[in-house]
């Protein structure tokens, strides 16, 4: 009993020590980028969670690249259908005003820039906006799915990822080391530590996670970081 209490206390204490965002908070911060009337494609992982934080006062339509506009929430137990899934192969629902189409039209609307925002995860992002998120040499490669199409065409691409990999190495680099998914395409990165914009001059720090020092962000970014004026904390 005492051990458990001590454990809980330690977790609680750690929570204050480690002010970095968890994946839900990253999703929450990204949701602030949504605007009324946006059509949005959310990738698998953290990006999917963004759907839970869409402000109630705006209307956002989610696209699933397997052929659906107007993706609704998971179905009520017992109402799930094998014929209605999202690109992550999860059972979902439609909404009033949804539309269904084939994969060519789905990527057609992506390619022609009709999707206002794409949110996806990454293994590496470089300061010129290159992204690597599909292949690690030497490991089993599962495929790029729709990621290459999305990053090659979307007007606005936000990457949701941890600032460093499990080995503690920065995922923000001067140049990606892994095989690329797309080039010069990422516009913004939201990590557990910061919101960073990709400008012509490179990474530019926009916001810090609550309690995170600029020095830490600089230390964990393996490229130049433009820090211009006062950097506000994220408003979560």
């Amino acid at each position: 009993m005492l051990v458990i209490l001590l454990y809980i206390f330690t977790l609680f204490f750690l929570h204050f020590l480690i002010m970095a965002l968890n994946k839900f908070q990253i999703a929450q911060r990204i949701a602030q980028e949504l605007k009324d009337g946006y059509y949005v494609n959310l990738g698998i992982g953290i990006p999917t969670l963004v759907a839970n934080y869409i402000p109630a006062d705006i209307n956002v339509v989610l696209q699933s690249e397997n052929g659906l506009l107007g993706m609704g929430p998971f179905p009520i137990e017992g109402e799930e259908s094998a014929d209605l899934i999202n690109a992550g192969k999860q059972t979902i629902t439609t909404l009033p005003g949804s539309s269904i189409f084939d994969s060519a039209m789905s990527f057609g609307m992506i390619r022609s820039g009709k999707i206002n925002l794409t949110v996806l995860g990454a293994m590496e992002v470089s300061e010129n906006g290159d992204i690597a998120n599909w292949k690690i040499p030497g490991k089993m490669v599962k495929g790029m799915g729709g990621a290459m199409d999305l990053v090659a065409s979307a007007k606005n691409i936000i990457v949701a990822m941890m600032h460093t990999n499990p080995a503690g190495e920065s995922k923000l680099l001067k140049k990606c080391t892994l095989p690329l998914t797309g080039t010069n395409c990422v516009k913004k990165i939201v990590t557990d530590l910061a919101v960073i914009e990709i400008t012509k001059e490179g990474f530019k720090l926009l916001e810090r996670a609550p309690g995170i020092m600029i020095e830490e962000i600089i230390a964990k970014t393996n490229a130049s970081l433009i820090v211009d004026g006062i950097i506000p904390e994220m408003d979560l």
Partner: protein
């Protein structure tokens, strides 16, 4: 002349070793279950399969992989399959990975009689290796060729004797694209209806593209990721 046939065995009778097949579906959603079972029973080998995914170990194209019938997979994503991984790493299986939109559009190109398309997907990546890169209005595109396949095997919700097909929800995915794209198109449907029962305004695949059609049996329609909510 009728397009109506009795079952999957009849439908795939002339698929032989080395054939190039397109198989509809996204994950396990909208896959031609009956024809896959018949192909496994028939045991044809050295197949090239164009399909967005490769099924799971014990369902979909995974059954053909387990049976070592597939020489090459052309897909956009091939996770969720241990046997696939084993064959790939051992060199038994060849895999060509293609961006999903490119895969879809190369099917459409074949169905629309366009020999090639230009797409920005893959520019600056290893997907571009060996391919023509061309600049239009300041943006770079890759030239990607239309697929050439011997058979397209698709699954529809309903179909009529003319071969007209409609699909249900996101089980549509690659099915109508592949239905247009091969030399011979085989359609299995959950429900075969009389000509005239489908509204001409809402046909997804016009019958001209379909060569053989039959009503399938015993659909399992397995769900890969059952996600539900309790909220009303």
């Amino acid at each position: 002349m009728t397009k109506l046939i009795n079952n999957a065995t009849e439908a795939i009778a002339d698929i032989v070793d080395g054939s190039v097949l397109m198989l509809g579906g996204f994950g396990l959603c909208g896959i031609p279950e009956n024809c896959i079972d018949a192909l496994v029973k028939k045991g044809v080998k050295n197949l090239t399969c164009i399909s967005n995914n490769a099924g799971v170990d014990d369902f979909g194209i995974g059954l053909m992989l387990k049976n070592k019938q597939v020489k090459k997979m052309i897909s956009s994503y091939v996770g969720e399959n241990a046997e696939f991984e084993r064959q790939l790493l051992s060199g038994e299986l060849e895999v060509e990975l293609i961006p999903q939109g490119t895969l879809a559009t190369r099917c459409m190109a074949a169905g629309y009689g366009m020999p090639a398309i230009y797409t920005p997907a893959g520019v600056g990546t290893e997907v571009a290796e060996g391919k023509e890169v061309r600049n239009f209005n300041g943006k770079e595109y890759l030239l990607e060729l239309a697929f050439e396949a011997d058979f397209a095997i698709v699954k529809a919700w309903k179909g009529d004797k003319q071969g007209n097909l409609i699909y249900k929800d996101t089980a549509r995915n690659f099915n109508p694209l592949m239905a247009m794209a091969a030399k011979i198109t085989i359609a299995e449907v959950e429900e075969l209806v009389e000509d005239g029962e489908l509204d001409p305004n809402f046909i997804h695949t016009p019958g001209v593209y379909v060569h053989r059609i039959f009503e399938g049996v015993n659909y399992e329609k397995r769900i890969e990721q059952r996600t539900v909510t309790n909220k009303k």
